[in-house]
């Protein structure tokens, strides 16, 4: 393929990356962040998959089968605990503005510059070769694509090689989006957006190639495995068999190594902790990131086996199967896509790693030295520009170091195996980092001793042998030990054999590291600075940021603190921060200057300024700078403990206040609810009153009208006018009597209802036979039924059915229901059926009629007071209280009344009562 095309495509990809990052930055400036999404956060964590994953996994699978997997199973296991461990790391880092691993470790152990420097040193030594490995990955991919033979590639001058330009472009990108301005939180939205974009590209590219190889080149994944199974030398790759040596210690060591690395690699710390926007995003990322790893590994074995089957073992470099397989099939587009995927894997890693390492180099190596120089520390210089330029230079330096290592080491063993060697280097941070988050007793000396021992053993057992194997130094010390001392052999220290070099190195380095960390820490109790930082770290979840103790006592002035902040953060930004601080603490002045003058230079403000400076120059330098402008009193351990007590007291106090306000809130909510209930009861009472008066007025009106008619008639008769006929008078009087009776009935029922509702009703309790009761009730209403011409059928059992109730009340219910039915059935052709059935422990009585039925929306209303069914015009005579009273009665005896009806199909009222269970009436008794 033409080199020009490859370069053009790569350039186009890099330009896209710039565009994505610029878009991300622009959106962030507009306040509509693209990275404020758990998905973007999860994708940015996939920066873990570097070129080493993209090309190396296939290579590893082709030579040793499933051994590429532990590197991804480790992160899976680590992510299970992300919500517990990583969240704590995140909370600590965000509260104390920690922006790098070096700063984290140094801050935990009393803000020690020495520790920060040591961690930075280990990182640079361990990580720069890893960056070189990425550049090599790209360079090899370009050569495969443009078909440059490896021999020729080695003889090129540096300016003839595309990698140097790529490294420079990446340095430019990182400077542009990673060090544009000095931000005390070290967040880079555009950069994270670009990294997430790269994660999508590399996953898609790898999956497309995998699908092509599996289904385009072969007949599916099953076909590849079937064919490989037929070749014994390939079959042993994916099914080593019980007889094959499978080093379980190595498997465990690799898993553990990856588990630690995913937390401790500088690039992972950068995207997971520093760039995190919201700690709740961790919940999504905890499972999406492992899922990403699973997906990108799905086709590793098929591609590796497919390549081996296609080219034959030893014929092509397995690390570039992703490219060479599509190329061999005349699929240049696919090969270009694959190289873009590889490019995205490598560039993403290089960018983030560079920015993380350069932050450490700048804050923990260069700035402390700068601040020691009188010119910088005492002057009134604005240092923002100096620091920013240092940061940029550091980026360029780290990138060029990586490139030089790549040029020097080239094909050497030191480069090929560097991935795991780097992992082992950062794993040395584990005891100091993780231990410091949970163990209060750890001290600075413990951390220093552990790190030094771990790093020294790492150099001796892993780095030196790798250099020796590259042929850069005599390798006889590997075989016989230095000075012929056999027990000092780097790969079998003290004669410990049986391990592979990595497991061996990891065992010794972590053992001595953790051992010295614990042992030396236990040597003496922590100093004041260590103890106070330990409290802040270990108990980070115990109090909110406002209630943490501030371990500081002394004299300070707002002006000098402000001047200090201005030197490192810029005048505008520093003033903004101070104003926000004043606002948050309720200090409000007439204007900006006034409110700043009203601020008190207390411990909290000093702590605030120090935290802000920590974000910009690291905790150790921030401590030194703050100490230079204030007069501090030395604290004793008792003071620290007293301050913790004070903070605890404040916390308790605030909790009490919170509880009190909560209970007040609850009480007021209860009162409000009670008030609402009273109001609605009041409304109901009003409704009831108006209904009752309405019902009373109707008969009263007719009585009065008729009485007036008759009075007028009597007067007319006295005056000699013609009188009313006798039968008409009788008729009127009969109506008056009937209406009066109706009035009386209504008043009785209202009283009845009121009594039942208020619980003052008197109830009889007796065992009674429901069948006999129904027959008696029917006799009572027989006259009414005969008048309406309704036909009644009784569907009752012959044997008595005993229930526990008040016979009079129950008769009232029955009469109500039957007369109700009688009122609604069509005159002359009415049919009413009364049924009784026993089920389990209850008896059900039904009264079915063939009247007009009740519309569904009316059905719930008929049991309410004064709500008769049907239109007002067709409403038959009645008080509208019969059914509500019936309901009260039935419910009093532990039963329930209901209605089943369809329009035009008649209505069926039914109620059930518990069968002969005397204790049930207690439930219904409201008194």
């Amino acid at each position: 393929m033409s080199p020009l095309l490859v370069v053009a495509v790569s350039l186009a990809y890099l330009l896209t990356l710039f565009a994505v990052a610029a878009y991300g930055d622009r959106r962030a400036a507009a306040g509509r962040s693209v990275i404020a999404s758990p998905w973007v956060y999860a994708l940015s964590l996939a920066v873990y998959c570097s070129a080493w994953t993209y090309f190396g996994s296939v290579g590893r699978a082709a030579s040793s089968g499933v051994w590429f997997l532990p590197i991804y199973l480790g992160p899976m296991l680590a992510m299970v605990l992300a919500w517990l461990v990583l969240r704590k790391m995140l909370r600590i880092a965000q509260r104390y503005r920690i922006t790098s691993i070096a700063d984290f470790v140094s801050s935990r152990y009393g803000k020690s510059p020495l520790l920060a420097g040591l961690v930075t040193l280990i990182t640079v030594v361990g990580i720069v070769p890893y960056i070189a490995l990425q550049l090599k990955g790209i360079s090899v991919a370009f050569d495969v694509l443009t078909a440059v033979p490896a021999v020729l590639a080695r003889e090129r001058a540096w300016w003839q090689e595309s990698t140097v330009y790529l490294a420079l472009a990446l340095a430019g990108f990182t400077m542009m989006f990673g060090a544009r301005h000095l931000d005390s939180s070290e967040r880079h939205e555009g950069l994270v957006a670009a990294v997430a974009f790269e994660s999508v590209v590399k996953l898609l590219a790898f999956l497309v190639v995998g699908i092509y190889v599996s289904w385009g080149l072969f007949d599916g994944v099953g076909d590849i495995f079937a064919r490989a199974a037929a070749r014994p030398e390939l079959a042993s790759l994916f099914a080593p068999g019980p007889g094959m040596a499978f080093s379980h210690p190595q498997w465990f060591a690799l898993t553990l190594l990856a588990m630690l690395s995913v937390l401790l690699l500088p690039r992972q710390f950068q995207v997971m902790v520093v760039e995190n926007v919201d700690e709740r995003h961790l919940r999504r990322a905890a499972w999406v990131f492992p899922l990403y790893l699973l997906l990108i590994n799905l086709f590793v074995l098929p591609i590796a086996l497919g390549g081996l089957l296609h080219f034959g073992p030893g014929q092509a470099d397995p690390e570039t199967f992703v490219l060479s397989l599509p190329l061999s099939q005349g699929q240049p587009v696919l090969a270009l896509l694959a190289v873009v995927g590889g490019l995205s894997a490598a560039t993403g890693m290089v960018i983030v790693e560079t920015i993380a390492v350069s932050t450490m180099v700048c804050n923990d190596l260069v700035v402390p030295v700068l601040l020691r120089m009188r010119r910088w520390s005492e002057g009134r210089h604005n240092l923002t520009r100096v620091i920013l330029n240092t940061r940029r230079l550091a980026i360029l330096a780290v990138m060029l170091l990586g490139y030089c290592y790549f040029r020097l080491a080239g094909e050497a063993y030191a480069l090929v195996s560097i991935g795991l060697i780097s992992f082992a280097a950062v794993a040395q941070f584990a005891p100091a980092m993780l231990g410091g988050m949970y163990w209060r007793g750890a001290t600075r000396h413990g951390a220093l001793a552990g790190l030094l021992a771990g790093f020294a053993l790492w150099c001796y057992t892993l780095m030196l042998p790798s250099l020796a194997k590259s042929g850069w130094m005599a390798d006889d010390f590997l075989l016989v030990g230095p000075w012929g001392l056999d027990w000092l052999r780097p790969e079998a220290l003290l004669g410990l054999g049986g391990f592979d070099p990595l497991t061996h190195a990891l065992f010794w380095s972590l053992l001595c590291n953790a051992g010295l960390y614990v042992g030396v820490s236990l040597w003496r109790s922590p100093s004041v600075a260590e103890a106070s930082q330990a409290l802040l770290f270990v108990d980070v979840f115990e109090r909110s940021s406002q209630l943490q103790p501030v371990f500081w006592r002394g004299q300070a002035s707002v002006a000098s603190l402000l001047a200090l902040a201005e030197r490192f953060l810029g005048a505008e930004r520093a003033r903004e921060l101070f104003e926000r601080y004043a606002h948050e603490h309720g200090v409000v002045g007439a204007d900006r200057v006034d409110s700043l003058e009203r601020l008190q230079a207390d411990a909290e403000l000093v702590h605030f300024v120090e935290t802000q400076l920590t974000g910009a120059i690291g905790s150790a330098s921030a401590r030194v700078m703050v100490a230079s402008v204030v007069e501090e009193e030395a604290l004793a351990l008792e003071d620290v403990l007293a301050m913790v007590e004070e903070a605890k007291r404040l916390l308790l106090h605030s909790r009490e206040l919170e509880e009190k306000s909560l209970s007040l809130e609850r009480a007021s909510a209860e009162l409000r609810a009670a008030n609402e209930q009273l109001k609605s009861l009041d409304r109901l009472k009003d409704d009831f009153m108006s209904s009752v008066t309405h019902e009373l007025r109707t008969p009263l009106t007719s009585i009065r009208a008729l009485a007036e008619l008759m009075l007028d008639d009597a007067r007319a008769e006295a005056g000699g006018a013609p009188a009313m006929r006798l039968e008409q008078r009788q008729n009127f009087l009969a109506i008056i009597v009937a209406e009066t009776e109706r009035l009386g009935r209504l008043v009785n029922q209202v009283l009845d209802m009121a009594k039942i509702e208020s619980g003052h009703a008197e109830w009889q309790h007796a065992e009674l036979d429901l069948v006999a009761l129904i027959r008696r009730s029917v006799q009572t209403v027989a006259e009414l039924l005969r008048e309406r011409g309704a036909l009644l059928t009784l569907d009752l059992p012959d044997s008595p059915v005993t229930v526990h109730a008040d016979p009079d009340r129950l008769t009232q219910v029955m009469i109500n229901l039957i007369s109700n039915a009688a009122k609604f059935v069509p005159a002359g052709s009415g049919r009413i059926r009364i049924g009784l059935a026993c089920q389990d422990d209850r008896v059900q009585v039904e009264v079915q009629d063939n009247g007009p039925g009740v519309a569904p929306e009316q059905q719930a209303l008929v049991f309410e007071k004064f709500r008769q069914g049907g239109d007002a015009s067709q409403r038959p005579q009645g008080t509208g209280l019969g059914l509500p009273i019936s309901r009260q009665i039935v419910e009093h005896f532990g039963g329930q009344i209901g209605l089943r009806s369809q329009l035009g199909q008649g209505a069926c009222f039914s109620f059930w009562l518990p069968l002969g269970a005397p204790d049930n009436d207690k439930n219904g008794d409201r008194a």
């Binding site: 997997l69 899976m76 299970v80 605990l81």
Partner: protein, 65 residues
């Protein structure tokens, strides 16, 4: 209370994951058998991996009630 239950579940899941993906349990699958045309050993690594992700997703995404 709720919080500690979640932590305990996560710790248990972590222990289960460590056991499933390490010696001696993985040694059980180290044989030349095939399932659905796929070799057993890689399958025995990928399937628990997928299950772990599913369980973790369930734990992390459920509404705190």
């Amino acid at each position: 209370m709720k919080h500690t239950l979640e932590s305990q579940r996560l710790l248990a899941l972590f222990a289960a994951g460590c056991l499933l993906l390490n010696y001696p349990l993985i040694a059980l699958w180290n044989r030349a058998a095939r399932l659905w045309g796929l070799p057993l050993f890689p399958l025995a690594l990928f399937v628990p991996w997928g299950l772990l992700i599913a369980a973790l997703a369930w734990l992390m995404e459920r509404r705190p009630d």
